[in-house]
């Protein structure tokens, strides 16, 4: 009897592991396959007309050279970097301050504005495009990076303020009170006591804000009209949207380069992605 049970358990463990590995392999393929296509395409010579996974032909860096010499890719890249950095700083500053205020202070309209944020969040960006257009016309924001940054930051505020508030709520208010009694004012309490404990969330927010302009297509396409103002997302799309002149290799090369600044930022912020920063401060 006991022996039988033991066998059953062993069997069960085998199948558990089997399915775990099948699942992992499946997911790995899904993730790696398109990446592999892009990476190999970037180093292929000539103009491919479609993506496929093949390792024939010689490998070359020509595509990268062409990107910077024959196209506006360099300009687009700098545009995107500029938009990303500015949007990141503005967005993180606003939502951190707002999140702190919502978490720590009680003021008129606090609850209703938080609810309003959720409602606003339900409206998809595309539904607001007309409104954005009117706004852009009114303030002369069409074809400017400033207005694009404005839309990126504005769109990110509601959801991320919620997230920030939630994270601030996990920092015990006793720490604020303790700092107050120690002689710290509002700003110092915020900057020296609470903010250091928010590092993981701020790092995540910064990364998200930075990544958005590199991948976002719809708003950029809608606001930016002249090619020298493009961001990489809409710039690269130019290479593959003409059915007669598909420049897949160029597209792939440009796409890969996007990973560079994001990876750098990720590795730079990585040390902040730690949990349990508030542990030890309080109990119960």
């Amino acid at each position: 009897m006991a022996k039988n049970n033991h066998k059953k358990m062993k069997n069960k463990r085998f199948w558990n592991q089997f399915f775990t590995y099948v699942y992992l392999i499946f997911m790995t393929v899904i993730i790696i396959y398109p990446l592999l296509i892009t990476v190999t395409s970037a180093f292929k010579s000539g103009n491919l007309i479609s993506f496929d996974l093949s390792f024939e032909g010689e490998l070359t860096l020509n595509n990268f050279r062409r990107l910077f010499n024959d196209t506006l890719y360099g300009t687009w890249y700098m545009n995107t970097l500029m938009v990303a950095v500015v949007a990141m700083f503005i967005q993180v500053t606003i939502i951190t301050l707002a999140g702190y205020a919502y978490s720590r202070y009680r003021f008129i309209g606090r609850k209703s504005s938080l609810k309003f944020f959720i409602v606003v969040q339900m409206v998809p960006t595309i539904a607001a495009l007309t409104a954005f257009y009117v706004m852009a016309l009114l303030v002369g924001g069409l074809d400017t990076h400033g207005f694009l940054i404005f839309l990126y930051v504005g769109g990110a505020i509601p959801m991320n303020t919620w997230l920030m508030k939630g994270y601030f709520d996990t920092v015990p208010i006793d720490l604020d009170e303790s700092a107050k009694l120690d002689g710290a004012g509002h700003l110092r309490t915020f900057a020296q006591i609470v903010l250091p404990l928010m590092r993981p969330m701020i790092a995540v927010q910064a990364l998200w804000a930075f990544m958005t302009p590199f991948g976002e297509f719809m708003l950029a396409r809608f606001i930016l009209r002249s090619p020298e103002k493009y961001t990489v997302a809409i710039g690269l799309q130019q290479f593959i949207n003409d059915p007669r002149q598909q420049r897949v290799t160029l597209f792939a090369a440009g796409a890969i380069l996007i990973a560079v600044p994001i990876s750098i930022l990720f590795f730079y912020l990585q040390k902040n992605f730690v949990s349990g920063l508030t542990s030890g401060g309080t109990k119960g």
Partner: protein, 378 residues
């Protein structure tokens, strides 16, 4: 070094109908150790937080020394507070935790170092100064929290249930530490707890609160021996005082199976106050119900036959739940007499130590002011 005066302090939270604290009046002397004690939600923490400046005072005046400080920011009140859950800054070392308040006061570095070292020595934290709070045990964290308050040498020390997160043994140890600390620092301290043992052992004076109202202010001796009302009587002392409604008539109390002769002084007061034939609350502490032969012999008129329903041995003493004519009472007797459940036992009530309370107001029925009562009991 400061005196604190609370005058008609009221607190009502926003959106709340009732006051959390009602008409709180108290004079705290310089260097006094005051303990607020009461059940959860009685307003003791709220009062402490009002003194700290963390809660607004709805009505009334709060004085520190000669100044009204109602609208003074916490940081300018020169008060230090130890929180129930320590509230250490998790990203700072023990040293920085203690130095933070001093740095904000623009103290020179050398003096900060000196003060922190001294406090660390006093609290046994010298080897831990470079550690972060996460790497400390509960007791050590609590000591850091104390140290953070000590280094500032504030006018007033506030403590909000500082020991309630520690295990029993450590709690007793830290209790003595805090008592020592008070001796050394000679600072006014206000301490909040729901633990009456802490209150009794630490306090110069105890403030007993319930439902936002002060029930009694007095030395531990006073509140134990002359409770002002039935609530204080039942709250202070463990096991709690036996309280039963009885009828007073012809110098005896009867009812609920109790039939006892009231002592001469009490009889006088009850007669004078016109309680003849009326219902009163009779209170007697468990330790004033005796089972020793000598007690039975001295006061044979108060001896009652009882049955033990439960016997709890605590070591030196036994807590006996006894059936007195159908009423359950608690008695604390010498454990060496060895009693068991089910046993029949004769007990003598020490009626000189009996307390009587009005049924309606639950106020004590007492003629003399409290000081005289204390004197006669002594």
């Amino acid at each position: 070094m400061a005196e604190i005066k609370l005058e008609h302090i009221h607190k009502r939270y926003e959106n709340a109908e009732d006051y959390a604290v009602t008409d709180f009046n108290l004079d705290v002397q310089d260097n006094e150790f005051i303990v607020f004690v009461g059940p959860s939600g009685c307003g003791k923490s709220t009062t402490l937080r009002m003194i700290a400046g963390l809660e607004e005072i709805t009505e009334g005046d709060l004085y520190i020394d000669e100044d009204v400080v109602n609208d003074v920011a916490p940081k300018d009140r020169d008060i230090a507070m130890v929180f129930q859950n320590y509230a250490l800054y998790p990203h700072m070392t023990v040293y920085d935790n203690m130095a933070f308040g001093l740095k904000l006061r623009k103290m020179p570095k050398s003096e900060i170092k000196e003060r922190v070292q001294k406090a660390a020595e006093m609290l046994g934290l010298t080897d831990l100064l470079d550690r972060k709070p996460a790497a400390l045990s509960g007791g050590q964290r609590q000591r850091v929290a104390l140290g953070r308050a000590v280094v500032r040498s504030p006018k007033v020390f506030l403590m909000d249930e500082p020991l309630s997160n520690l295990d029993a043994k450590l709690r007793v140890h830290m209790r003595t530490e805090i008592a020592k600390l008070h001796e050394e620092l000679e600072t006014t301290m206000i301490y909040v707890t729901h633990d009456q043992t802490e209150a009794m052992t630490l306090a110069d004076r105890i403030v007993i609160m319930e439902a936002g109202v002060i029930q009694q202010v007095g030395t531990p001796f006073e509140v134990y021996n002359s409770p002002d009302n039935a609530f204080v009587a039942s709250f202070i002392g463990s096991p709690a005082m036996n309280l039963h409604e009885v009828t007073y008539s012809q110098g005896r109390i009867t009812g609920q199976g109790i039939d006892l002769l009231v002592s001469e002084p009490s009889r006088k007061v009850l007669d004078e106050k016109g309680y003849e034939g009326k219902t009163v609350i009779f209170g007697i502490r468990p330790e004033d119900i005796h089972s020793e032969q000598i007690a039975l012999d001295t006061t044979p008129e108060t001896v009652v036959e009882t049955t033990i329903t439960v016997a709890e041995l605590t070591g030196a003493e036994s807590i006996l739940y006894i059936d007195v004519g159908g009423t359950e009472m608690v008695a604390v007797v010498d454990a060496r007499d060895f009693h068991q459940a089910g046993e029949k036992m004769e007990v003598a009530f020490n009626m000189n130590k009996a307390h009587f309370f009005d049924v309606e107001t639950e106020e004590v029925i007492r003629k003399k002011p409290i000081e005289e009562v204390v004197e006669t009991t002594l």
